[in-house]
C-alpha cells in the first residue's frame, strides 16, 4: 500500500512538472485546474471535514487578489493614477520591480486573508448549519458589492494587474512561470492538509462534523480548531486569489474577484462531485470538473450557466456522496472497512 502511494505521488509529480511541455497549448488552462484543485481542497476543510458548509471562502480569494495587485502596483507607482488610467498603461515595471512586487504581494495576499478569517471567525463560526451557509453567502456577495463601490481599486470598472515586464521573454515564459508557482502552491496545500488530517487537528475537525456538542463536552476547544481551520483555508485561498489576478491580468469585483456565482459555487460543486470529507475527493472532483468544463463548455453556446445550474441540481440531488463515496460503497475493503457478509445479506433480506 505504501509503495503504491509512493509510485502514485512520483507519477503525479513528474506529470505535473512536465505538463507545460507535454501540453504547451494548455498551460494557462492547466494552471487554472491547479487553482481549482486548491480551492476545492481548502473548501473541503470546512465543508467536508468540519461539516461547516461555507459559501464565503470566495471572500478570501477576492481579498487576496485585490491586495496582491494593489501592492504590486502601489509599491512603485501611485495606485489611484494607475486605476484611473484604466487600460492605457502609463507605468511600466522593470523586471526587478515586477518580481519584488509579486513576492511581497503574494506574502500579503496570504497573510491578510488569514488575519481576516481569524478576526471574523469567532463571530461567524459560532453559527450552525444553514445559518452559517447563508451568512457566508451574504459575506461573499457583500464583499463584492462593497469592492464595486471603492474608487481606489477601480470600483465597478475593475483594474489591471501589472503586465509581464518587457525584456525577459514572451507570454510563453509568463505562462510557464505562473504554472510552476501554481504547482508549487498545490503541492504545499496538499502536503500540508495531508499532514494535518493525520494529526489531532484532522481528528478534531471530524469530531466537530460528527457531533460538535459532544466534542465540546469532551473538553475540546472546538472554536479554536474551527478558527484555525478557517485560517488555513483563507491562507491558501488568498494566495490562489493573488495568483489568479496575475494570470488573468484584469480584476473586476463581481465577475473575477468575488465571483460567488462561478468560483464560489465551483469549489463547493467540485468537492461534492469528488466526494467531500476525503483527501483525494476534491482533487479528483476538480480535475474531472475542469476537464469537462473546458472540453464541453463550448458546445453549450451561451447556455453554460443553464448547464451549470442543471449540473448543480443533478449532482447535489442524485450524487451527493461523490466519486469517492461511490468507490467506498463499491469497494469498502480498499478503505479499510470490514464488512460482515452475513450481516449484509441479512440486511438485504430485511428490505
Amino acid at each position: 500500500m505504501k509503495k503504491n502511494n509512493l509510485i502514485l505521488y512520483g507519477v503525479l509529480l513528474v506529470l505535473g512538472l512536465t505538463a507545460p511541455f507535454l501540453f504547451p497549448a494548455f498551460k494557462v488552462q492547466i494552471s487554472f485546474m491547479l487553482i481549482l484543485i486548491i480551492l476545492a481542497m481548502t473548501w473541503d476543510v470546512q465543508g467536508g471535514q468540519m461539516g461547516y458548509n461555507s459559501f464565503g471562502n470566495i471572500l478570501f480569494f477576492g481579498i487576496g487578489m485585490y491586495l496582491c495587485a494593489s501592492i504590486q502596483i502601489g509599491m512603485f507607482f501611485p495606485l489611484a493614477e494607475w486605476t484611473e488610467s484604466g487600460g492605457e498603461k502609463t507605468f511600466l515595471h522593470t523586471p526587478t520591480q515586477y518580481f519584488q512586487g509579486l513576492a511581497v504581494g503574494l506574502v500579503f495576499a496570504a497573510i491578510v486573508p488569514a488575519i481576516v478569517a481569524a478576526l471574523i471567525g469567532y463571530g461567524i463560526l459560532g453559527l450552525r448549519g444553514h445559518y452559517f451557509a447563508i451568512c457566508t453567502l451574504g459575506l461573499g456577495i457583500a464583499a463584492g458589492e462593497i469592492a464595486g463601490g471603492i474608487e481606489l481599486i477601480g470600483a465597478g470598472q475593475g483594474m489591471t494587474t501589472p503586465p509581464w515586464p518587457k525584456g525577459i521573454g514572451d507570454t510563453e515564459l509568463r505562462a510557464e512561470f505562473f504554472y510552476y508557482i501554481c504547482f508549487a502552491l498545490l503541492i504545499a496545500t496538499f502536503s500540508f492538509l495531508n499532514w494535518a488530517y493525520k494529526k489531532r487537528f484532522g481528528l478534531v475537525l471530524n469530531a466537530i462534523r460528527d457531533n460538535e456538542d459532544k466534542a465540546e463536552a469532551m473538553g475540546i476547544h472546538t472554536m479554536r480548531y474551527k478558527i484555525v481551520g478557517w485560517v488555513v483555508s483563507a491562507f491558501f485561498v488568498g494566495l490562489a486569489g493573488g495568483l489568479v489576478g496575475n494570470i488573468v491580468g484584469y480584476i473586476e469585483p463581481i465577475e473575477v474577484a468575488f465571483d460567488g456565482r462561478e468560483m464560489g459555487v465551483f469549489m463547493v460543486l467540485m468537492a461534492i462531485l469528488g466526494g467531500k470529507g476525503t483527501l483525494w475527493g476534491p482533487v479528483i472532483g476538480a480535475s474531472a470538473f475542469h476537464i469537462f468544463k473546458e472540453g464541453f463548455w463550448t458546445f453549450f453556446l451561451g447556455w453554460q450557466y443553464v448547464a451549470l445550474g442543471f449540473l448543480i441540481v443533478v449532482i447535489v440531488v442524485f450524487f451527493p456522496e461523490g466519486f469517492m463515496g461511490w468507490l467506498r460503497e463499491k469497494y469498502p475493503e480498499r478503505f479499510g472497512e470490514v464488512i460482515d457478509e452475513a450481516d449484509r445479506k441479512a440486511q438485504v433480506e430485511l428490505k
Partner: protein, 297 residues
C-alpha cells in the same frame, strides 16, 4: 454631517414612507419563506428568482397591452404550477435530507432560473408602467407613487386572505398539522406529499403576487433575485417562524433601513448594506444565543 438627508429632514419622512411601503412587500415574500421553512424545513435560495419570474409574467401582460395590475391575479396562478412542478421535479427529493443539500439544490435552481430568464426575457432592466399617478404630501415635499401604495394594500390583502385560508380551510389545517409534526399528521391520514407540493405552490404563488407588484413599482432584471431571497431570510430570522406581526414589522424595518442606507451610503452600496446587515444580524443572534446557552450551564 453634510449628508443631504440631515440637511433636509423632510427627506427622512420620504425615506420612511418609501421604506414602509417597500417593507410590506418584503414581508409578503418573507411570509412565503417562513411558510415553506416551517412546513418543509427548506430554505429556498430560488425564492427571489420566483419573485422575478412572477414579475416578468406581469411585465409581459403589460407588453401585450393588458394593464399590469391584473398581473396580481394571473401571475400567482401560473406561479402556483411552476412551484408545484419544481416540487415534483427536485424538491421532493431533498425535503427530508440534510439542510445543506436543499440549500445547494435550490441554489442550482436559482442559477438555472436566472439564466433561463436571461435567455427568454433578455438582460435589460424593464419596468411595467402602471400610470397610477403620484400622491403629494406635506406641501408637495413628499412624493409617493400611487403604485407603491397600491402594492402595499394588495400585499396586506393577500396576506390576510392567506392567514384566513390557513386557519379555516381543510388544506390549511393539513399544512399546519404537517408543520407541527409530519409523522403524526401522516398517521392521522394527511397526505404529506400533497401538502408539501401545495405549500411550495402557495409559496411560489405568493412570490408571483410580490413579483407582479415589483414589476409595477420597481424594476425587473434577471439577476436581482438573490437580494430578495436574502431579505426574506433576514426578516424570517428576525421575526422567528410563525410570528406574523413580527414578520410585518421587521419587513417594514428592513425597508426603512434600506431607504436610509440608500440616502446615507449612496445607491451603489445599497445591496452591499443589505448583505452586511444579514451578516451582522446573524452574528448578533449567535452571541445572544450563546449567552442563553451559558445560563443553561
Amino acid at each position: 454631517m453634510d449628508y443631504l438627508i440631515f440637511k433636509a429632514p423632510i427627506l427622512m419622512v420620504q425615506a420612511s414612507m418609501d421604506g414602509i411601503l417597500l417593507g410590506i412587500l418584503f414581508a409578503l415574500i418573507a411570509y412565503g419563506m417562513a411558510l415553506q421553512w416551517g412546513v418543509m424545513n427548506i430554505i429556498n435560495i430560488a425564492q427571489g428568482d420566483l419573485v422575478i419570474m412572477g414579475g416578468y409574467i406581469a411585465y409581459f401582460m403589460y407588453v401585450a397591452g393588458i394593464h399590469p395590475a391584473f398581473g396580481i391575479i394571473v401571475s400567482p396562478i401560473i406561479m402556483y404550477f411552476v412551484g408545484w412542478g419544481l416540487y415534483k421535479l427536485v424538491i421532493n427529493k431533498v425535503v427530508d435530507r440534510d439542510l445543506f443539500i436543499s440549500i445547494l439544490a435550490t441554489f442550482g435552481i436559482s442559477i438555472l432560473m436566472q439564466q433561463l430568464m436571461n435567455f427568454v426575457f433578455g438582460a435589460d432592466v424593464v419596468v411595467a408602467q402602471s400610470n397610477f399617478g403620484t400622491t403629494m404630501l406635506f406641501d408637495n415635499s413628499v412624493t409617493l407613487p400611487n403604485s407603491k401604495i397600491f402594492s402595499a394594500i394588495v400585499s396586506v390583502v393577500f396576506a390576510i386572505f392567506l392567514i384566513i385560508y390557513m386557519k379555516r380551510s381543510k388544506l390549511g389545517r393539513a399544512i399546519r398539522a404537517t408543520a407541527q409534526n409530519a409523522r403524526a399528521a401522516k398517521i392521522l391520514g394527511v397526505d404529506t406529499e400533497k401538502v408539501y407540493a401545495a405549500t411550495f405552490g402557495i409559496n411560489a404563488a405568493l412570490c408571483g403576487v410580490a413579483g407582479a407588484l415589483i414589476a409595477i413599482t420597481f424594476t425587473l432584471h434577471p439577476y436581482v433575485g438573490l437580494p430578495y431571497t436574502v431579505r426574506s431570510f433576514m426578516i424570517v430570522i428576525i421575526a422567528g417562524l410563525g410570528n406574523l406581526p413580527g414578520v410585518a414589522l421587521s419587513g417594514m424595518g428592513l425597508g426603512v433601513f434600506e431607504e436610509f442606507a440608500d440616502y446615507i451610503l449612496g445607491t451603489e452600496f445599497r445591496i452591499g448594506a443589505v448583505f452586511m446587515l444579514l451578516v451582522f444580524i446573524l452574528v448578533y443572534r449567535r452571541f445572544k444565543l450563546s449567552r442563553k446557552r451559558e445560563y443553561l450551564k
